[in-house]
Homo-oligomer: 701 residues x 2
């Protein structure tokens, strides 16, 4: 992880290659033609060149030194945050979450950088006046016969010309927005996928998808249209200082529709809030990040044909929708695919690789990362791909890792996630002052706050109503209020907003988003505990206990509710994918039709049988709770033993997978733990006070 | 870690900010003045701007896509390497080490990139002819009234002008050399320091320092002068195509004097070679990296006054020597200081922080990293600082970490080290074909190989002879031959060579260094096993067994040998620093003079007493081996119990620390393990087949 941060400095400063180029520039002059230069070089023209070289060396060192200093600022901010977090955790203070804290420190540092530091301007800059009409990305400058390649760094408004250096400094600190998408977001999102509570996620799959897809779309359009009204108002009152189209409004809607799981869920987890609520919120916020990012890029891609731009155009709209579906499904497929490939590799190697957890971890890490790069290289959305890659990895690959590697990977991604998160939040605070093109417009801001409130409401309440028609275990009004309240905006909204701050509209959107994030994280994030208690939402629920408590009827109902959506998939997964890709799950010989017995036998890993055996023993405790499960295990083990008489196996499989689904829904974790299939998640754990205890518990004694 | 790699792409490509700048460029034209622009904007001039915007969007996406693809190449190379390493480890193949393997893959990929791929040239570049005499780092171009800032990327030789794009691609792959120093080297060096075998290191401190400092200096000057002769010959035969001064030769000497621990030591560890040899080689190669890097930078800083450059100048030389001492001691101090600070923080917090290993790990990681940045920001050498920071962390901070965090940090840095190492080596292979300014000169190359051979010989044999006069347990001739043979060049040499490839001389040096690395890693690295057997160096030595085997007399002698150097320091450390900075070590109350009893009591952590108690119990097994130690523990625990009667404590302390030194030298690890003080190192472990088993063993069952 160490390297990550360094990414920033090179990204935002004149690329270090320039330093070398500078060094290169001088001596070449001296070298002249290759033949007898050595002789001449020493005598003539050398001192000048040498001098130049020294000067440029100094410049290079100076800039490098400044980079280090800038990065050091962030490191110190993080360190400070960690120390204070520790204090908070120690004092059990919940009024302010670590992310809010990081932002505060960021703001303070931003003030210092903006008003405290002044860099003396450099004489080394040369202003060329030339007759090019466009400003190309690459510029070849012919300096007295030698060609130098220059890259475009950005436009400078004329009044800034005199203090380029200061802006230089500030720009260095406010580093390239792409860094967020390429370095900071991936680990966060991957970890979210990797640590997804699969059981609760699947139990509420229907509702979660509804909230994530429909909900995000709704709120996007609600916010978009409200903002458009707001912009129209501004135009009338003459407050508008630039172009602001409906597409921009929609984009804004998409940006601020991405809710952030971090803050609230951290508190939920600590308080062990009702698992239903937890699952709904987590699932929604993870998925709607993915939805929002694809949505925004497809809105950007909305380009009406012909000159009459920014008027409504059906074909263009359908094109955008097509793009949305294309990118989303593409990224999804890519992520899942890489996950499966990794699972296959690990399946075939790691049994023997067990001795080398370092290699396992390295491979796992590299494969997960290459998902992101692959998706980006193919023009899909890397972040989305990484999310689904994470889910797949957790579902399949994780089971093939050795215990050692399971913990290593988990801890590694936990750390990356932690650092990236706090970095982003402290950076948010920083940009409030260091970002140079802020554009705060009262009307717009007020409108925006009003809009996100309405948008969230239009997302939660109607959908909950509709879902409750289908759900047997309703989503209570208090839960609905809580979901309404818990709609914080965070890293994703910020990253989307800062990604492009070129136009006037985008700048205004960015500044507003920043304020929204601050407000929601500080106020809503801080008020979560209070809100929970005043909504009488039960806390301190042990997820497993809660489950054993669920009456048979209700479990059937939840099953029925979720089954229609993923029963098919579940059976396929449980009977064919799991056995093919992991060492857990039933042996193929029991799941495949009798005709392909030999194939099945050679494809099934020996451990699968062992697992079967295990099942029988380890479920004794389940038997106490539930009769039909013991039954199930009865005959599933029977047919595991009597593979030869596999004429009847098909029917039995039907049953056993049915009941397996049952168990998955009801006692999923139990069973999975036993089979060693389950991802032991920090979040998925039922022990107070925090996820860390969990890992500590699994850590070496 | 995910981020680390990404660092590369932004660093080497036109900074992504440019993409945004491009987007920015267009709409601004449309925006016009702020007042009623919105109204006009839509009607007039919009399509053009929009079009431009789309074009530039496309360009930006394209370049971003290419970055991802480039990085993907490296990730795949690493993945491939890991898979093959697994195969090797599985087959117990030793003829080729993973690093050598990585290089081979790199070479193959380099060939493909160089000759396989052709990028169509872009029309988007504009060539300006203008009358600036220098090529400044920053260029302000006035494009029809708007100012754009450009940064220098490098010079392009006129014949490359037509296929800029291809070079662009290649340059993207051969990314910025600073990346090595800022991203890839630090984790490697830190890990080296963190995993230093402290006991054996201290036992041979004298010899190691001699080899590292004198030895490196000697070989640097030997190589330098040989190469100067070689260059003179080339000049006579007219093969020389540019300036090549004696300082360049010296620089080359410094570059190739840094030996690489990785390959050989991996094999040594696997074969459990004689610990003496291991300690000597490891210590030397770790320290001489530091020496070489500082040496080279102080040679670069050698700038004679006046016009008669590159002639001998006493003041300048002394200035260089001063710089060497200054930078080295400065970096050392800074590294040690940060380490101590971290230790203090951890000492005061981590006892309570124990519940949150994530925070611990994060803090530890950030502090270690900030060492590097701090040193760089202050103009010292970050890599050197990181090395000593690592040693300090291992010595003090590590003891304050919870067991969980100890493993987390160890595994984290292990992984980083592993990835960085293989990345560098596969990158080396890549550059053989993708680097564009290679300059292979047969004479120079032959001379270089001859020189490094002589230089190594002039380092090892005379020094060993001198050291043997002092040492009681001589360094046998076969060990000397082995050290001679084991002088591989690796990551550091490469990083130093590629850091600056501006001048003709540097380019030639780089190409030659590359060949030297390839040759030594493949031939010497591959031949290690054979060499060991033909030199009759005993393998399969269990370091601890070996120690119990050491006769009393010899241990005394080794003690005497090493004592004069660090007895003083050891006593200070054992009596004052350890108790102050860690929770292990004897309570201050026993070590401080009686007068400061109260201070001592309040400064000593309660655990220290517990540790004392532990000592008594846990050393029962040692007592079996060695009499005087049980005695020692006898009275040291006595005076631990009788703190009140601390009139005599001073004397006893004298003893106990004496004997503690004894134990440190003889049974150090044993005792430290028991006290939980010792860093459980992969390298420090005596179980086959590889370091990974070690961590696996400590991993959760």
């Amino acid at each position: 992880a160490s390297g990550r941060g360094w990414a920033i400095a090179p990204a935002v400063t004149p690329p270090p290659r320039a330093k070398q180029a500078l060094r290169r520039a001088a001596p070449r002059c001296a070298a002249g033609d290759r033949a007898g230069a050595a002789a001449r070089g020493e005598a003539a023209a050398r001192p000048v060149a040498l001098e130049e070289e020294i000067v440029s060396e100094k410049a290079a060192e100076e800039s490098h030194r400044q980079d280090s200093a800038n990065l050091l600022i962030f490191i110190l901010l993080l360190t400070l945050t960690i120390l204070t977090i520790w204090l908070f955790k120690h004092r059990r203070a919940r009024f302010l979450h670590e992310t809010g804290l990081a932002m505060i420190y960021g703001v303070l540092m931003g003030v210092i950088l903006r008003y405290g530091i002044h860099v003396p301007s450099d004489v080394n800059n040369v202003t060329l006046s030339c007759q090019v009409q466009t400003s190309p990305a690459t510029l070849l400058v012919n300096v007295s016969g030698k060609y130098y390649e220059y890259t475009l760094k950005g436009e400078i408004s004329p009044h800034e010309l005199n203090n380029v250096q200061d802006n230089e400094m500030l720009r260095k600190v406010t580093f390239d927005p792409e860094v967020f998408f390429n370095i900071l977001l991936p680990p966060i999102i991957f970890y979210a996928g990797y640590s997804l509570k699969r059981r609760h996620f699947f139990r509420n799959l229907g509702s979660i998808l509804a909230y994530a897809f429909l909900g995000t779309a709704i709120s996007c359009f609600v916010i978009g249209s409200i903002m458009y009204g707001c912009v129209a108002l501004m135009k009338v009152t003459g407050q508008l200082g630039g172009d602001f189209y409906f597409t921009d409004c929609l984009l804004f809607g998409a940006i601020v529709s991405a809710t952030d799981p971090v803050t609230v869920l951290a508190i939920f987890h600590e308080l062990q809030v009702d698992v239903e609520l937890y699952a709904l919120l987590f699932g929604e916020s993870v998925l709607n990040d993915a939805v929002a990012i694809v949505l925004s890029s497809s809105i950007v891609a909305y380009q009406p044909a012909g000159d009459n731009s920014h008027t409504f155009d059906v074909t263009a709209m359908f094109k955008s929708i097509g793009i949305f579906l294309g990118i989303f499904s593409g990224s999804f497929a890519m992520g899942a695919a890489t996950g499966v490939v990794t699972a296959l590799i690990s399946f075939s190697l790691f049994t023997k690789l067990r001795e080398f957890p370092l290699l396992e971890t390295g491979l796992f890490f590299l494969m997960s990362w290459s998902t992101f790069l692959l998706a980006e290289a193919c023009g899909f959305t890397g972040v989305v791909a990484v999310l689904f890659c994470g889910i797949t990895q957790a579902h399949y690959t994780y089971n093939n890792l050795s215990t050692e590697s399971q913990h290593r990977t988990k801890q590694l991604f936990e750390l990356l996630n932690f650092l990236a998160e706090n970095f982003i939040f402290s950076y948010m605070g920083l940009t409030l002052f260091t970002f140079q093109n802020h554009d705060f417009n009262p009307t717009f801001i007020v409108g925006a706050f009003f809009a996100i409130f309405l948008g969230r409401a239009a997302n939660i309440y109607p959908l909950s109503f509709l879902l409750n028609l289908g759900r047997r275990n309703k989503i209570g009004t208090n839960l609905q209020h809580m979901m309404m309240f818990a709609g914080l905006r965070g890293a994703m909204a910020f990253a989307l907003a800062i990604r492009d701050t070129a136009t006037y509209a985008r700048q205004m959107m960015f500044s507003t988003t920043l304020l929204i994030v601050f407000f929601t994280v500080w106020v809503f994030g801080g008020g979560t505990t209070a809100m929970l208690s005043c909504l009488h939402i039960r806390v301190g629920v042990d997820s497993d206990q809660e489950h054993l408590g669920v009456p048979e009827s209700e479990r059937r109902s939840t099953k029925a509710e979720s089954a229609w959506l993923f029963r098919l998939w579940y059976n396929f997964d449980h009977n064919y994918l799991k056995p093919l890709l992991t060492h857990s799950g039933p042996p193929l010989t029991t799941t495949l039709p009798s005709c392909c017995g030999p194939v099945a036998r050679c494809l099934t890993s020996p451990q699968a049988y062992e697992n079967q055996e295990q099942l029988k023993d380890d479920d004794s405790d389940l038997i106490l709770n539930d009769g039909d499960i013991s039954l199930t295990y009865g005959d599933s083990t029977v047919n595991a033993d009597s593979i030869t008489s596999s004429g009847t196996s098909r029917r039995i499989v039907g049953n056993s997978s049915e009941d397996a689904l049952d168990r998955e829904l009801a006692f999923g974790d139990h069973e999975l733990v036993i089979r060693g299939t389950r991802l032991v998640l920090p979040m998925d754990d039922s022990e107070p006070p925090s996820s860390l205890v969990d890992s500590a518990r699994h850590g070496p004694a």
